[in-house]
Amino acid sequence: MLRLVQNTPPPVALRLDDVGLCRGGRMVLDGLSLDVPAQGITAIMGPNGAGKSLSLRIMAGLIAPEAGTCTHDLSGKQDIALVFQKPVLLRRTVRANLAHALAIYGVPRAKRKARIADLLDFGRLGAIADSPARALSGGEQQRVAMVRALAAKPKLLLLDEPTASLDPQATDAIETLIRDTAAAGAAIVLVTHDRGQATRLADHIRFMHRGQLVEAAPAAQFMLAQKSPEAQAYLSGHLLL
């Protein structure tokens, strides 16, 4: 019996189409077209200045593109959450940071206590729940920032180099949290410079250079053989100018 296998692309959570952005008289995003699959972890890779973080801010709605469009079906303002490279936590305890986020997200007061307990449990933050958030280590602060973002139950979680300058233990804890979040059904976009991290976590790769998408591929395929000379040079450790 002949079976027809339909090779349909995965559903898309968000799409940037021909996006342009100018900063300081220079086009930092120049006709960027990129889609984010609705499932799994999508790593955006590329050298410094490629426009990765800016594209993430456009996805989060923090910056409006000067050209092109950012489209998605995520209607609620809390459906997309962003975690920054350097987390900014409030001058309160971890628990109070989560309570503040839940209040912003409109969670009724009566339900907050239980939600906070769930979030602390999910992020393995129970032991430091009542510690001042800004006194925590960098890794712990980043975990709090991630869990705070998850308080909104986002369908798309954007992570801007969440493990930059963290030690291996802290990196492992963050990566575990990322895997758990993806397993819970959220689509994740992860900006990273770390080839190892992309190999460990990503299902899809989007490689950017000079404000444009240079290559898009499943992660396993990309790590084995890159099609573009830019990605080949980058992963070989050459400087991309």
Binding site: A60, L62, K77, Q78, A81, L82, F84, P87, V88, L90, R91, R92, H100, A101, A103, I104, Y105, P132, R134, A135, A152
Partner: protein, 235 residues
């Protein structure tokens, strides 16, 4: 005219002996000043935060005005409040002139621009740090203002302290609207002015010493509370 040493000795005797008149004047001074600063903070904190975070017409003009009003001459405020509260004034029916309430109103008007202008700067600085995070969370302006005011609470104590210093040392406005009436509206600064003009240096010095000690003690208390709270919150 007493000698300098005699005046000091008599002043210390008044303080140590808890002179009834002295205690009454000190108590009224504290009541008026702390009430005025409390009201100024109630108005100045949200006003300063709105100037820092809000986007509305004339915001720039209002900011300049609030900054300029930090140097408002107390006698001008006293005159303005006097005209408002005098029998012929629009608020004359309230019969507030020459009462502690009138003094509180005048001092609150003096202190509010100081609290508001310092709050604006503190909140604007904090907003630079929090802006993207709060926007990414979808926080509206009201929620942003509330968050910034709460997280800037230790720095805002400095704004309140500046207001307290201004109110505690102020004499012109309370003299005009209070009238310096014995047992009714006499506070430390107006009493010092009066006793000095009468040549009663002991009482004037005693009040002056109490005023200085109170000012230092209140500042030390608030600074201590600020430092302790900051340590606890690692802010």
């Amino acid at each position: 005219m007493q000698g300098f040493g005699d005046a000091f000795a008599a002043a210390f005797a008044l303080i140590v002996g808890f002179d009834a008149d002295l205690v009454e004047i000190v108590a009224l001074s504290l009541r008026v000043t702390l009430s005025a600063v409390f009201i100024a903070c109630l108005i100045g904190f949200p006003l300063g935060a709105a100037l820092a975070v809000g986007r509305f017409p004339l915001r720039g003009m209002l900011t300049i005005l609030v900054n300029a009003l930090m140097g408002l001459p107390p006698v001008v405020v006293g005159l303005g409040v006097y005209l408002m509260l005098s029998r012929a004034g629009p608020l004359g029916v309230l019969n507030l002139l020459y009462t502690p309430t009138a003094m509180i109103i005048a001092q609150a008007i003096l202190v509010t621009p100081i609290v508001a202008a310092l709050t604006r700067q503190i909140v604007a600085d904090l907003d630079t740090e929090y802006h993207e995070t709060l926007r990414s969370m979808g926080a509206g302006r009201g929620a942003r203002m509330a968050t910034l005011l709460w997280d800037g609470r230790f720095a805002l104590m400095t704004a309140a302290l500046a207001g307290l210093g201004r109110a505690l040392a102020e004499v012109g406005a309370v003299m005009i609207v209070g009238g310096n009436i014995d047992h009714v509206t006499r506070v430390m600064t107006t009493a010092i002015a009066l006793e000095t003009s009468k040549g009663e240096l002991a009482t004037a010095l005693g009040l002056g010493i109490v005023l200085m000690v109170l000012s230092i003690a209140l500042n030390a208390l608030l600074m201590g509370a600020k430092a302790t709270s900051e340590r606890m919150a690692h802010a």
